[in-house]
């Protein structure tokens, strides 16, 4: 269980990790600047297991993988959003950060509320109810089981992806 950090629609990778702060590949440094302007209290107060809950098109804009790396390095267990921008969703899956598309949960969950996420099934539970989001694709599940895309390709090769396609 974790607390919800509720953000609005159109949270861009520029807001998650502004271009002035991503001149590093160090996850802990990136974590310290996560949402630094959009939600200045986030980096200091986020706890392992917390969940980001957001509106439409989360992670839009730049392809910078620094954004999901920063969120993951903060200890965030999952991002629940009404929808995700394509590159962000792919980047998150590739590094093992669960993303759950669930407009109902995004609309119902309030900031600071306790949330339980079942990433394998795409189910989100809070005091407001239990919400069935979009379950991860077979490929996303396969990557999640391996831990990351790198681990999947290194250990099993592209055949593992072709099997799930």
């Amino acid at each position: 269980m974790g607390r919800a950090w509720v953000l609005g629609d159109g949270v861009s990778t520029d807001m998650i990790m502004p271009g002035r702060y991503n001149l590093t590949t160090d996850p802990s440094q990136l974590a310290g600047a996560c949402l630094i302007e959009a939600r200045p209290d986030f980096a200091a107060q986020v706890r392992p297991g917390d969940v980001i809950v957001a509106g439409r098109n989360f992670g839009c804009g730049s392809s910078r993988e620094h954004a999901p790396i920063a969120i993951q390095a903060c200890g965030v267990a999952a991002v629940v959003a009404a929808s995700f921008a394509r590159i962000f969703a792919r980047n998150a899956v590739n590094i093992g950060l669960p993303v759950i598309r669930c407009a109902e949960a995004a609309a119902a969950i309030g900031d600071g509320e306790d949330v339980v996420v079942d990433a394998d099934r795409g189910v989100v539970t809070s005091a407001a109810g239990t919400f069935a989001g979009e379950p991860p694709s077979p490929l996303a599940m396969r990557i999640a089981r391996a831990g990351s895309l790198v681990a999947l390709i290194r250990d099993e090769g592209w055949a593992a992806v072709e099997e799930t396609a």
């Binding site: 271009g19 001149l23 993988e65 620094h66 490929l139 895309l149 790198v150 592209w158």
Partner: protein
Amino acid sequence: MGTLAEEILSNRLCRSVRAGDTVVASVDCAMAHDVTAPLAIEAFERCEMPLHDPDRVVLVFDHVMPAATVAAAELHQRVRRFATTHGVRNVFAEGICHIVMVEKGFARPGGIVAGADSHSTTYGALGCFSAGMGSTDIGVVLATGRTWFRVPETLRIEVSGRLEAPLSAKDVALHVLGRVGADGADYMAVEWGGETVRTMTLDERMTLANLSADMGAKAGLCEVDGAVLAAATPADGVEIPQVRSPRYERVLQVDAGALEPQIAAPPAADNVHGVSELVGTRIDEVFIGSCTNGRLEDLEVAARYLARGRVHPHTRTVVVPASRRVYVEALRRGWIEAIVESGALVMNPGCGPCLGRQHGVLAPGERAVSTSNRNYPGRMGSPDAEIYLTSPAVAAASALAGQIVDPRRAL
């Protein structure tokens, strides 16, 4: 049989694939720049494999080039060491990655490119299937030469009507962005066609393909015709992709002849208005450049306006040629001189102030007009600054006036 995206991917895979299929495909090359390459290199190293093919790797220093901080310099150093260690020869520091990729022939009609930058859609202007990706995906391409794609559904944009100067491809793209929205083409290919696109130059088509990314698209494709083939050689061993009995998810009609100059106001690129709604807005900075509008034709427009006077004393104006080739040609034609004489600052080829790290960072409360593609809060500096996205004509005319003006009344 299919859309351009389906045709290109089917051709590569030697079998017919359709929207919704997930495929693993080889790519012609992987591109990364000074911000995304370091993470891609780390992902590649975790793959514990040799580099698949050094000649299919393109590394471009453009985002903060030359380095403006020690942190940036260290990232550059890591990328150069990687290139040296692995024998990567395609290393460039002469302009924006997307323009360099086209100029140097790495992006080709019918080809497939994986780019570690969201605006890698730009090569679609040549009929090259190219998707922006994160660093992990690029790291895996470095190790294996391959990546996976979900074959996208297609949003077809059918543009008709005469686009008369100072209207430009940027106005068409912003107009469509406003109608479609920032996630209106999410996971899709945007396919640009129609009589107006057929009359456009490659520079103009690159603007269309580029801004497709800001609709959420995976690819932004233009049909391959004589204008493209005059400038680019098709990828090795591929058929020139042609749309054949396509099935589109959605078709949008645009009458270019009915447009007025378009502006994307804060806080997002899909907040699009006609210039007439914003005339008189005072501005502190103008930026003309970027992978959207920093090419030769864009500098020609900038020079034509700026040659008529001096930039307003309250409006610092920064012009950044997209590449060395663009810069040298603009010098030869006297356009750089006209721009400099107007009081504008001309910076070295690269991304310039677009991403808020150099060459014109904005203070709180400041307002900028930019010919780039993003105006999210904080994009060019302070999150309390405002960015208005326009064509080069609106930007240059506004630089002289110190406020947003309608370029149709300025020349």
